[in-house]
């Protein structure tokens, strides 16, 4: 049961006051919640997103937070924000510029102001605009008083003191009362955008199940925020965003990391193999370890190893034993795992390596996004060590990409690198839930009988179709054999230093990756009049798609193609590329895919690169592409 501790309930308020304030219809809104790392902005954004999802709007979110758990309070490095874009039509990005900024302190205002278009609403927590806090971020005079915010609609709200006031009757400790101010903000925004809040109340009851006083405090703060919106003259308009027209079915909101973890569970179910995850904690991949460790019911084993190398080593050991071996990490971890990936290539065992990319080099910016591990995924090993690489294009696509990675790994007995990144990993979107029975059957069979003459077992005798070697696991009588990193003789798997054999094996390993069947790349080219093709991969799908739509709406034809499989590349890619006068490749790196495309297809592709740690905005790409379409 959800109930408020005292006073009027929001839904009663809504009924009583219907018509009291003007209600405006909007087709889309971008809201950014920003505050100190300890202000609970990620949670606030998350809840608002969940409320919005249930209303049937299409959504896309962008959390943006520092790597420090708690940077000094009130400082610019400590600002954490969560942006949510929702609309009554299908959208592809979290939005470029916020229509509304909720700034919980001066630092949050200062850090985000430059992103706001003029006319944007700014809701500020005036309680935090103290001399000391202003000085911390270099404001000599309060921006609320010096006219510098004249271009915006500023709504000063004493968020903290009103929250504390609202909780006075509950006897909540002052500190706990102040901490509930994010729920006040959420209540206010939920009122402003007519969001359903039942799920938030349920959420609070679950989250603070052991602390009924905090449940009451947070609910009361939420209610106070809602009531404030209703009664104050600072807000004269309420907004509504109608549900988007989406495909029928059941949806949930999901982040990329959650989807990826669930995709691995699904891969285990649909391969009928126990999943074994070896992982070492690393931002931004750790959430996958957390999620999978909850699902032992599915026969999933998770080992938090002593280091990145042990993590992949354990996964290789488990694969050798007949499990679906997986390791999850970010760029620095892949660098450490390189030697073991090479071993898995030589052993020709299934293995899924998940790289949730972050900004590098070295520690770089662990909570920021980048696509700069493509070179490492494709080429970052000693010797000729080819493997398959695939990249999800959106948060929910992480689910299907994980299954696809497992399918390739199992069928072709090869390591597969799954290149996610921080943008899709922490961003979220509505996901049309698939039915488990409709997911692809990716089961394979272990070898149980000798395959050579006289009952001999030949561990490197290949399947003529897939070029995969037999997967004969320990415990199978009569197939005892030894494998290892030393070069193998074809068929027998014995150690071999024979020059012709090495040449044959190196070429075969390359050939068997090239021979992996991947779907053709599709081109979105509405009326087939485009002369410019924009080619992307991975998480840039959203902003590229949004930019292309905007151009087409303005009558500028452009074609879009997106790569999910980066090794091997789709068989029709060369044909697609040469069908256009110009190919543009936007990437969050310095042109890594562009290098590959130019080298392999001799196409004079134009790279367009951004390495700021943030995703492309649709506007950036739209401007760039407009220039290419118009001026060649």
């Amino acid at each position: 049961m959800c109930s408020f501790p005292a006073g009027r309930r929001p839904w009663e308020v809504a009924k009583v006051s219907a018509g009291a304030k003007r209600v405006e219809q909007l087709d889309r809104v971008v809201i950014r919640f920003a505050g100190d790392s300890g202000d609970g902005m990620q949670l606030t954004g998350d809840r608002f997103t969940s409320e919005t999802a249930q209303l049937g709007n299409d959504i896309s979110t962008l959390p943006n937070f520092p790597a420090e758990i708690r940077a000094p309070a009130g400082t610019l490095p400590g600002v954490s924000s969560f942006q949510v874009h929702f609309a009554d039509y299908d959208i592809l990005t979290p939005g470029d510029a916020p229509n509304v900024l909720v700034a919980m302190n001066p630092a949050a205002l200062k850090a985000n102001l430059a992103d706001l278009p003029s006319g944007a609403d700014i809701i500020v927590n005036t309680d935090e605009f103290t001399k000391r806090n202003l000085a911390k971020v270099g404001y000599a005079v309060s921006p609320l008083e010096d006219g510098s915010l004249a271009d915006f609609a500023v709504h000063p709200v004493a968020l903290t003191s009103m929250t504390v006031g609202a909780l006075a009757e509950l006897g909540v400790a002052k500190k706990d009362g102040e901490r509930a101010k994010n729920m006040f903000a959420l209540g206010l925004l939920s009122w402003m955008y007519s969001r359903p809040f039942e799920s938030t109340l349920r959420f609070l009851e679950t989250k603070f199940a052991k602390r009924p006083d905090l449940v009451a405090a947070n609910k009361a703060a939420f209610q106070a925020g809602w009531n404030f919106g209703e009664t104050t003259e600072s807000f004269t308009v309420r907004y509504e965003v109608k549900p988007a027209r989406m495909k029928p079915g059941t949806y949930r909101n999901i982040t990329g990391n959650q989807a990826l973890a669930l995709g691995l569970v699904a891969a285990s179910v649909r391969s009928k193999l126990p999943l074994f995850l070896g992982a070492y904690p690393i931002t931004p991949a750790s959430d996958i370890l957390h999620e999978l460790s909850k699902h032992k019911k599915f026969g999933i084993t998770t080992v938090q190893a002593e280091d990145e190398i042990a993590a992949i080593g354990a996964a290789v050991g488990a694969s050798y034993g007949g499990a679906l071996g997986v390791t999850t990490t970010s760029g620095p971890g892949v660098a450490l795992k390189g030697e073991t990936i090479s071993l898995a290539i030589a052993l020709e065992l299934p293995l899924v390596i998940v790289d949730v990319q972050r900004a590098g080099p070295s520690t770089g910016m662990p909570t920021k996004t980048e696509q700069a591990d493509l070179n490492m995924a494709l080429f970052g090993r000693h010797g000729e060590a080819p493997l398959a690489v695939i990249a999800p294009k959106s948060p929910s696509d992480c689910f299907h990409a994980a299954i696809e990675a497992a399918r390739i790994a199992l069928k072709y007995r090869t390591p597969v690198i799954l290149l996610s990144d921080n943008y899709v990993a922490n961003g979220s979107e509505p996901w049309l839930l698939p039915s488990a029975d409709e997911l692809p059957d990716i089961s394979v069979e272990f070898t149980t009988e000798p395959n050579g003459e006289d009952g001999r077992f030949l561990p490197y005798l290949r399947d003529p179709e897939t070029l995969a070697r037999p997967w004969a696991i320990p415990g199978t009588a009569g197939l005892e054999h030894r494998i290892g990193g030393l070069e193998k003789a074809d068929k027998t798997g014995d150690i071999s230093y024979d020059p012709a054999n090495h040449e044959f094996m190196v070429r075969t390993r390359a050939q068997r990756i090239e021979a992996i069947e991947v779907p053709d790349i599709e081109v979105e080219d509405a009326d087939e009049s485009a002369r410019v093709l924009v080619l992307g991969w991975g998480s840039t799908y959203g902003p590229i798609g949004a930019a292309c739509r905007a151009l087409r709406q303005r009558g500028l034809p452009i074609a879009q193609a997106h790569l999910r499989h980066l090794a091997p590349l789709p068989a029709n890619l060369g044909e697609v590329l040469t069908a256009y006068d110009k190919v543009v490749i936007p990437e969050m790196n310095l042109g890594q895919l562009a290098h590959v495309i130019r080298a392999k297809y001799l196409v004079d592709a134009v790279p367009f690169n951004q390495v700021s740690g943030l995703p492309f905005t649709a506007a950036t790409l739209e401007n760039m592409l407009e220039d290419v379409v118009k001026n060649g």
Binding site: P243, R252, L262, V269, E306, A314, A323, A477, E480, R482
Partner: protein, 342 residues
């Protein structure tokens, strides 16, 4: 014996454990003796060959799996304990043996070794210690004595060596033993005890590299000197040695460590003492000079293996299974705030 590993009624022989691969160690290498001892001892275990796996790293000793007619993996430098951990945890029905060397286990793979031991993974780890890098042709290793002159240390090594047993004990190993390549009977008795141990068993085997470090253990091998330097630990027996058993290992009052003295009241060896300080003190009796070197089982105590704990979590969780895997997956995907569009 580990209860999850099957036993075969079929009587196997040493020959059954010989693979068809040509053994390629240098003539005279101590590894031959260890291989023969292992192959000769394996049938005793009664474990079907297909349920035995040898995993190794890189180095001369790590070629071992190729010569065993069991399942095997010759992996990469230092990583065998990590790979074997994944295999052992996910396959409780396998008897997993790790073969490694002093460079492999204590230098590049030091991290994995200590963590396998602390977790108490069900692995039998055989560390062939020859105090030299053999496969890379003669550089000093982490067990080489201080001042050792090698190709990479012409002025003598400035690195203090590890005492492998002290290290293993510091890492909370539950079974720690030492034996010698040339003493087949002793080697097999130690292997037997290791195989019977549930959890990690760490066995250091002094192994002669006749090419790059010949005679490294001669003091405790040569019949004219060994009696005065080699201490044979036997469960329940006083720790004495010498041609006339004239030397005793004693625990002087007020001292943290053990002492070797002529006469005196010898300690009675008990590897099952829970406090690792005892086994540690024993491990400190031998230094680089091998002056007083105990061999045998130093420590043999019980605590739950990692495999057992992980398996229990899995079994408990699986008992909560409420439907087919596909039904459970549907339940998992829908276990969130969902909404339906008609």
């Amino acid at each position: 014996m580990v209860s999850t590993i099957p036993i075969t009624p079929v009587k196997l022989t040493a020959k059954d454990f010989k693979s068809d691969q040509e053994v390629r160690w240098c003539p005279g290498c101590g590894d031959y003796a260890i291989l023969a001892a292992v192959q000769g001892f394996m049938p005793e275990l009664g474990i079907p060959r297909e349920n035995i796996v040898f995993v190794s790293g890189i180095g001369c000793s790590s070629r071992f799996p190729y010569y065993m007619n069991t399942y095997g993996m010759h992996s990469i430098h230092g990583r065998a304990p990590a790979i074997a951990t994944g295999l052992s945890v996910s396959r409780p029905d396998l008897s997993v043996w790790v073969v490694t060397g002093d460079g492999d286990a204590l230098s590049i793979g030091g991290n994995h070794l200590i963590h396998a031991l602390r977790r108490n993974v069900n692995l039998k780890i055989l560390l062939f210690n020859n105090r030299i890098y053999g496969l890379t042709k003669g550089q000093y290793s982490p067990t080489s004595e201080l001042g050792k002159i090698t190709k990479s240390t012409p002025a003598g090594s400035a690195d203090s060596p590890f005492n492998p047993l002290s290290l293993a004990l510091g890492a909370e190993a539950t079974f720690v033993a030492r034996t010698i390549d040339s003493d087949r009977k002793h080697l097999q008795s130690v292997l037997r005890a290791a195989a019977e141990h549930e959890g990690s068993a760490f066995v250091e085997i002094y192994q002669n590299c006749n090419i790059f470090n010949d005679g490294a253990f001669e003091l405790i091998k040569d019949s004219t000197t060994r009696e005065d330097h080699l201490i044979r630990l036997e469960q329940g027996q006083p720790i004495t040695f010498g041609a006339q058993q004239q030397f005793s290992v004693t625990h002087p009052a007020g001292s943290f460590g053990l002492k070797v003295q002529e006469g005196g009241e010898a300690l009675v060896h008990d590897a099952t003492v829970d406090d690792p300080a005892y086994a540690f003190a024993l491990s400190r009796l031998s230094g680089s000079d091998l002056g007083t070197t105990p061999i045998g089982v130093f420590r043999n105590v019980q605590r739950p293996s990692y495999d057992e704990l992980i398996t229990k979590q899995l079994v408990d969780a699986k008992s909560q299974a409420d439907g087919t895997p596909e039904q459970m997956l549907d339940g998992l995907l829908n276990k969130a705030d969902t909404w339906t569009i008609l």
